[in-house]
Amino acid sequence: MINFCGIELQHPIINGSGTFDAIAAQHAFGESLVNNFPFAAFVSKTVTIEPRQGNPPPRLWEIAGGLINSIGLPNKGLRGYLNEDLPKLATLPVPLVVNVMGFTRDEVAELVNAFTAREEVAALELNVSCPNVETGLVMGADPHELGGLLDHVRPLTDKPLIVKLTPNATDVPAVARAAQQAGADALSLINTIRGMALDPTSGEPWLGGVTGGVSGPAVRAIALAQVHAVAAAVEIPVIGIGGVQRGQDALDLLRAGARLVAVGTESFRDPAAGARVAAELAALEPISSFQ
């Protein structure tokens, strides 16, 4: 067992937010999903206050060794999630981490309050890869902005607060230190990296939003460097994410200083990727060495 912010996990492999829908997967695969749940904790797709439809298609573009997405954070909103999804996710055999995003500090506070009140929720992950619409700054790209956000929400909860950093920042370790300083319990990185693709015929951006987030093996080396830099800059635990396909990739992130590893895009190719990576990792290095 691994203790992460007071939560007991069977192994170090969890999912990246937005890369696995446990409810839809149960619809597709039935009970065999629950009996063979591939992650040691489940991180939900970002919940926002208001329901969001997400971006018009096309939302995906395949690249060499990965994918660019511009999905647009579709979700039922806070009310819908609490009423419809949370009861189902609470029946999963692993701890539940809810990922939230607010567009103002007050929105983040409202989300933190709502999930703090629910005992089914083991931890909160703050998705700060969006702008604070009141200041115009991306919350997770600016140390002062992020510190201010955490000062606002840290007092509201005793649940572990994980801050999911954005790689699209000039000085990620500085943002990481600001998060630690302001009371974050853990950090997760990397989120997707800004990228672009052009329709080869028209020359126009393929994705409606012009740019999107790059993920998959294409980002692995970048993720490893950022995890290494952040783990060296802080004492709080780090969740390493980025292009993990094999046990070896997870081991690399753990050796770079991560405490846990999230599998994301690889789950699109292989729904059981989390379990496979965990098994490959255990064959490479026993769990006891991660305590």
Binding site: A28, S32, P217, S267, F268, A272
Partner: protein, 265 residues
């Protein structure tokens, strides 16, 4: 037709390729899926090759590719898929031969529903979209009429995969010189009660939707979208319906024509 939707085994599995047969511009790939259930007509699989998937044009493919099942004979483990080489993923799939392993996730999606009471099933297909209509015709047995459209003779060779099809080609080289929707309009003019099942390019599906909406004819449309995962994880495969965006892999790929304002290009 299965009343209960078959569930997919959790994970990705390998199935040995049993044959690769040419039908003009198309390849039919057969595999032995001994670990999977029989699919319902209209369900799909996420396919990739177990080896050399990637490192093709622009180092692609990376993600698997979604394909409706063409045929799944009862009492066997065989699954058949209709593939046309139109990119790095389909190029790799179309060259798979006995000795290779196909990787599968599936069966996925909702499948076609039985025809409305007292109606004859009327199948309308275009190009590679004829695939789910073949298994549908197998499962609905002899009374399903099939109208199939192709761009030219090389593609019209695919019509052999269905029983007694009426064919239209864009270039007039086989059958009716024109669109499959011309054949549909003629068939509907006979005023027999029908349920339409359609699969093909978006423009064809939109024309079928509009014709059926105008005449108040029940229509089940098998839509298509780029997909990364096929099982609801990525939210990439949405289409616009009257009730907002829905994931085709979760709420489709078969949608009732009346649920849509239009089939987008």
């Amino acid at each position: 037709m299965n009343a209960k939707r078959p569930l997919a085994p959790f994970g990705r599995r390998a199935a040995p390729v049993t044959f690769n047969a040419r039908y003009g511009a198309y390849a039919v790939i057969g595999c032995a899926d001994t670990d999977g259930p029989r699919p319902s007509a209209g369900q799909f699989y996420m396919l990739s090759a177990a080896s050399r998937w990637g490192g093709g044009d622009a180092e692609r493919p990376y993600l698997p590719r979604a394909f409706s099942v063409l045929r799944a004979p009862a009492g066997s483990a065989e699954l058949e898929f209709l593939i046309e080489d139109v990119g790095p993923g389909t190029k790799r799939l179309a060259e798979l031969a006995p000795g290779d392993q196909l990787q599968l996730v599936g069966p996925l999606g909702n499948g076609f529903a039985p025809p409305s009471a007292d109606t004859t099933p009327l199948l309308v297909g275009g190009g590679v979209g004829i695939a789910p209509l073949a298994i549908l015709q197998d499962q609905l047995a002899p009374n399903a009429i099939a109208l199939l459209g192709f761009r030219d003779g090389a593609h019209a060779a695919g019509a052999e995969l269905l029983a007694d099809p009426v064919i239209a080609t864009d270039d007039g080289s086989v059958g009716h010189y024109g669109l499959v929707t011309d054949l549909l309009a003629d068939e509907l003019d006979r005023d027999d009660p029908v349920t339409v099942y359609a699969c093909g390019p978006p423009a064809m599906l939109e024309a079928v939707r509009r014709i059926c909406a105008q005449r108040a004819i029940p229509a089940q449309l098998a839509l298509e979208s780029g997909m990364a995962c096929g099982y609801g994880a990525c939210f990439g495969c949405v289409v616009a319906t009257k009730d907002g965006f829905v994931r085709l892999c979760v709420d489709g790929p078969i949608l009732d024509g009346q649920a849509l304002n239009e089939v987008a290009a």
